[in-house]
Amino acid sequence: MLLYLNNAQSRKEHPNQNWARELLELYTVGPGHYTEQDILEAARAFTGWTVRLPGNQRPREASANLAFEYVFNRNWHDPGEKTFLGKRVKSGDEVLEILIAHPKTYEFVARKLLRFYLCPEPPAALVQQGARVFRGEGTRGFLRWLFTSEVFYSPEYRNALVKSPLEYLVGLWYAAGVEKVSFEERSGRALYQSLAAMGQVPFDPPSVAGWDGGMAWLAESPFLTRLNLLAGFAGREGRLDLEVFMDNAGGVLSLVKPEAQLL
């Protein structure tokens, strides 16, 4: 994140605001719970938070697969006092402590998780409950709570989500008994093009906010790509287990039904 959102180059003379902004807007409290001034102050607090390669190797000379590690550059850091969300702080750690203690952080993330796993508009009461679970038990605890609760299996939440391109493709492979897929050869490259045409290249979202999801996946062009992929499954009639892929599954032609697009 320090590299992706440019904080690795942020110094006290000209702090870079990108990381500080997205931290608040997308990953913790969410819009409406901070001001532009808070972003400027947080950016100051994070100056000097940067990265380096082990042993201080030069990026151009090191192996491409060598991972960067976090390092604090004191010379780049703005040591002055800052005011963040009404509190006096100096370091980026203190900014994070404030965000971790903020109740809106847990609501915001709980809502995101429910939107991803349950339905586009999760009920407020469930969001509150989820926030409490998330705060007390972390991500694992939250998922365990969600996947073992009755509400998760309620009919009103079945087929409420549109499959993402990855969920659609992986579901099809699962149904066809495919166990291994390679992105290396020519067929792999065609796969990559299809994912791009459907709007989701793995690990490469169109923006720092990720993908919109929902019915946006089914605009004319990406929907067409999903359908054209079915040509590859046309001859596999006998070996397709569509029950694991969709409701209302009949023969292979069921794949053009609306249910094929839903989770």
């Binding site: 440019n6 000209h14 870079n16 400027l40 549109v162 709007g199 605009a219 004319e220 062009s221 609306p258």
Partner: protein, 390 residues
């Protein structure tokens, strides 16, 4: 006469039905209205106005941007009509358009209580509602009033909020040539049948998407034999603009075409990236203009370019800039009055390190809506006067 007086005069003549004849008389407007087309180019990420429309005679510009300012000798001077500002050198293909009086530059376009988040500011521009209460797009709301599902088209994969109304969403076509169904007949027939069977809930939303797809396939298929009459740059954006020209030439019939170009969020390493992107835009727009001239439609088309905000005045530590407020809009067309619609930027009186906005974007939208003979009041929910460029 200054700009304010000029606009005031134009609006008076509009109200009284007098003045520049064929432009403003009711029958003439009606005759032209069905032929008028708006092309919207959304630069996503926040294009930096100061390095695009460069105040190169202002010493402060160079002091605040010691590493990323455009060198004086590289700037393309716009002359007296451009308040002696200059264009970024990558916009050279548009200089001829400027000299012909067919390029309008509108600096510092924004709205009250500016928001510096990409997603919130983009949403504000798309819904035309700074108070963020509207969920429908401005063009979507216009589209709701039309009968033809192809009254507007999006070139790309995901229709933006701007083109989503209550009842209708603009079809999203990534490219004319790849837009066809490639399935064995039984699949295609089953698809056509499923698209006719009424469902409920989310399944019904999907079915509606299937119907839209079927209708789009039929219409776009007919455009495949249409050829471009100009040479476009070899990149995705160039191809989108080339396809828009083919859709116009082939009679798809949309009054609005919309496309997006991302990558403008130059927090770091701004100079080479912005130069490349501005080059894409200028080359594609110049080719588009040549294409429209070749098919005799250049007087009918208005191209409008915008970004969700401009960027801060001083550079940051990464050879880049951070989010600002009002940004630059460009409008191009043989039927518009080119020129600078605004003034030199005030680099001293900033708001949280950024230029303040001068023109509300809804006035530019009102201009675009009038171009396609729509009622700005109905779409924008308020009285926003058009600018004097039409």
């Amino acid at each position: 006469m200054n700009r304010r007086e000029f606009i005031h005069k134009s609006l008076l003549t509009l109200a009284l039905g007098q003045g520049a004849p064929s432009l403003l008389s009711k029958t003439a407007l009606a005759a032209r209205s069905k032929d008028k087309i708006l092309v919207v180019i959304n630069l996503f990420g926040g294009n930096d106005q100061l390095n695009t429309l460069v105040p190169y005679r202002n010493e402060l510009y160079y002091r605040l941007r010691p590493n990323i300012a455009i060198p004086r000798q590289e700037v393309l001077d716009l002359g007296a009509d451009g308040a002696h500002l200059g264009l970024h050198p990558a916009l050279r293909p548009l200089m001829q358009v400027w000299n012909n009086g067919e390029l309008a530059l509108i600096p510092q376009v924004g709205y009250p209580n500016p928001n510096r988040s990409h997603f919130i500011s983009t949403s504000i521009w798309h819904t035309a509602d700074p108070s963020q209460r509207q969920e429908t797009g401005w063009l979507g709301r216009w589209g709701d009033l039309q009968d033809d599902p192809f009254c507007e088209t999006f070139l790309g994969r995901a229709t933006p909020q701007a083109q989503i109304g209550k009842r209708h969403t603009a079809p999203a076509i990534s490219s004319i040539d790849t837009f066809s169904i490639r399935l064995p007949r039984p699949f295609e027939e089953a698809f056509n049948q499923e698209a006719l069977r009424l469902r409920s809930g989310t399944a019904e939303e999907v079915r509606q998407a299937m119907r839209s797809l079927r209708s789009a396939l039929d219409k776009v298929g007919q455009l495949r034999q249409v050829k471009n009459q100009a040479q476009y740059p070899e990149n995705a954006f160039g191809r989108s603009m080339a396809d828009i020209a083919r859709m116009i030439a082939g009679g798809l019939g949309s009054s609005v075409y919309y496309t997006t170009l991302g990558g403008w969020d130059t927090h770091a390493g701004q100079p080479p990236r912005q130069a490349e992107l501005l080059g894409y835009v200028a080359q594609a727009m110049a080719a588009f203009r040549a294409d429209l001239r070749a098919i005799g439609r250049d007087r009918d088309v208005m191209v409008m370019v915008f970004s969700e905000f401009g960027r801060q005045v001083a550079e940051n530590a990464s050879f880049g800039t951070d989010h600002g407020e009002g940004g630059l809009m460009l409008v191009m067309g043989s039927g518009i009055r080119g020129g600078l619609y605004g003034s030199e930027p005030d680099l001293e009186n900033l708001e949280l390190n950024a230029l303040k906005y001068q023109t509300d974007f809804r006035n530019v939208y009102a201009t675009a809506l009038r171009w396609i003979a729509a009622d700005p009041r109905q779409v924008l929910g308020g009285d926003f006067q058009a600018l004097g460029l039409i």
